[in-house]
Amino acid sequence: MSNLFCIAAEFDDEHKLLEACNKTRQAGYKNIDAYTPFAVHGIREALGQPATKMPWAVFAGGLLGLSVGFGLCYWVSVLELPYNVGGRPLNSWVSFIPVTFECTILLSAFTAVFGMFGLNGLPLPNHPMFNLPSFLRASQDRFFLVVESDDPKFEPSKVSAFLETLNPLEVREVEDE
């Protein structure tokens, strides 16, 4: 038996979508989401989602890369294989900087890419939204606002009636399998 995943409202431009998101949030719905063909400016605030923690994760990744890069150079040149090059001190930090810099960039970029996958829940082989035939246009010219069935206030008939008041093109129920 299949359960309801969400109720979706379809819009034809991003301004209507943003307005609808704002009204839905203000109506007290918490578990709402939007699907759009391009990044819509201000959608996060309209959906009431918290700011992403990614910058801090990337910064931490960068600091880790910095320590690893410098540590690697230091370990090799000072501890493991102390070698006199032209009478320079073993801890010649100037020559360690390119490696340190590259490791900083590398681990920042890895954190950004894999952190993004992690927070997005990717890879995801399938998603209930694909049960909605018109959803294919979410990657072209349609904007979807959904109220998910695990929302504390979720009651199918009331949600449908509410979404209809936002002047969408269509309101449809989406099953989860």
Binding site: H41, G42, P55
Partner: protein
């Protein structure tokens, strides 16, 4: 603020700045009578400091015309007016030429005994130096005047042919600027120590000028954001863009400085290493370390965050900070080569020249800005920027 009020505000700024400039230059002139050698040294650093926003703004104007980036629209007239100060800066180069023999070892009579200088005498000689200075001044003034004139033509006569001309000038102009600024940095800074050479120096100098000009842009846009012309265009996203550019140029400045240092440190040759050794002794080491912390690390950490970039007051704070550090960097670049082992001694004339030239520069900038509309009419990106700025948040 209406256009009328803006004009009177700029006129007020002009008067005040010119007054400060006159006082500073009067003090510097008195200093010249007392100790001309110190005057020339102080003058060179102060002159390079105020030339930076002029050249940097010329660069930004041309980058804007070539990229048509929307972040350039609110700053366009500010850049044009700053670039328009080039003829003044050309006249202000005269004291440097007058002090040639004091400033540049290759221009002194004893240079004939120096084999290394003699090998470079085909380039480093007084008549050719003078010719090059005239060439830079004429070229940069022409670019500054044309960028400004054709931009006003775009206001009155419509987008074409002004935009086409501006784009053509900017393409050729940026190439010419990059080449001439490289030679200029060799002439005015590198040749203070004629044994020393660094191939990245020209680009380092140009990047620093673009950095100073962008920090100045943040201050100028903040000063004018309440005006009728700019209030519809400038919002937190504008500052975010400028903050990102400041971040990029802080990184570029550091990257090139490190490249230069790393190569000279690795090579460890007699011609190159002394330049850095001078900057590691006699109190200069502290300044070198301060540059790493305050010209790189702290601005970098501030500019990484949206907390700074999306708050105009905080971004202004960082911009002022960068402008202060630009002086420290120029002082560090020029002074040790002139005082050889004399240690760090900030002279009162260093500040008198800095304030005097600064007053003159700001006064002329305000004079050029107040005569023209703050918004370039018929700008191809104007409608788009208005839509984004007035848009849906």
């Amino acid at each position: 603020m209406s256009t009328q009020e803006t004009n009177s505000e700029l006129a007020g700024l002009q008067t005040k700045a010119l007054l400060v400039g006159a006082l500073g230059l009067a003090a510097a002139a008195a200093g010249f009578a007392m100790d001309s050698e110190q005057f020339y040294r102080s003058y060179l650093t102060g002159y390079l400091y105020w030339l930076a926003p002029t050249l940097g703004c010329l660069g930004w104007t041309m980058i804007y015309h070539l990229t048509a980036a929307s972040w350039g629209v609110p700053a366009r007239r500010i850049w044009e007016s700053a670039g328009r100060t080039m003829p003044l800066m050309g006249i202000l180069a005269i004291p440097v030429v007058m002090g040639m023999q004091t400033l540049f070892p290759w221009a002194r009579p004893e240079a004939v005994d120096d084999a290394l200088i003699q090998a470079k005498v085909a380039f480093l000689n007084e008549p050719f130096f003078l010719a090059r200075v005239v060439f830079y001044v004429v070229l940069w003034s022409a670019i500054g005047i044309l960028l400004s004139r054709w931009s006003l033509q775009q206001d009155t006569e419509g987008p074409q042919p002004a935009i086409r001309k501006l784009r053509a000038l900017s393409g050729a102009g940026l190439v010419l600027m990059a080449l001439s600024l490289t030679f200029f940095s060799v002439d005015f800074v590198m040749s203070l120590d004629p044994h020393w050479f660094s191939t990245i120096f020209g680009f380092l100098f140009a990047a620093a000028d673009l950095l100073a000009a962008m920090a100045f842009t943040v201050l100028a846009v903040r000063f004018l954001e309440k005006t009728d012309s700019l209030k519809k265009l400038v919002n937190v996203n504008t500052y975010h863009d400028y903050g990102n550019l400041l971040l990029a140029f802080i990184m570029l400045w550091t990257y090139m400085n490190l490249s230069q240092f790393l190569i000279i440190w690795s090579g460890n040759t007699q011609e190159e290493a002394p330049w850095y050794l001078e900057r590691m002794g006699d109190g200069w080491l502290v300044i070198s370390q301060a540059l790493i912390i305050f010209h790189f690390a702290l601005p970098l950490l501030f500019l990484l965050t949206r907390w700074t970039k999306r708050n105009p007051s905080r971004l202004v704070f960082v911009a002022v900070w960068i402008l202060v550090m630009r002086f420290v960097d120029l002082y560090w670049l020029t002074q040790p080569s002139m005082s050889h082992g004399g240690g760090v001694h900030l002279h009162w004339m260093d500040l008198a020249v800095l304030i005097g030239l600064g007053g003159l520069w700001v006064g002329f900038f305000a004079m050029h800005l107040k005569d023209k509309p703050l918004l370039a009419k018929n700008d191809p990106r104007l409608a788009e920027v208005l839509e984004i700025a007035g848009g849906h948040h």
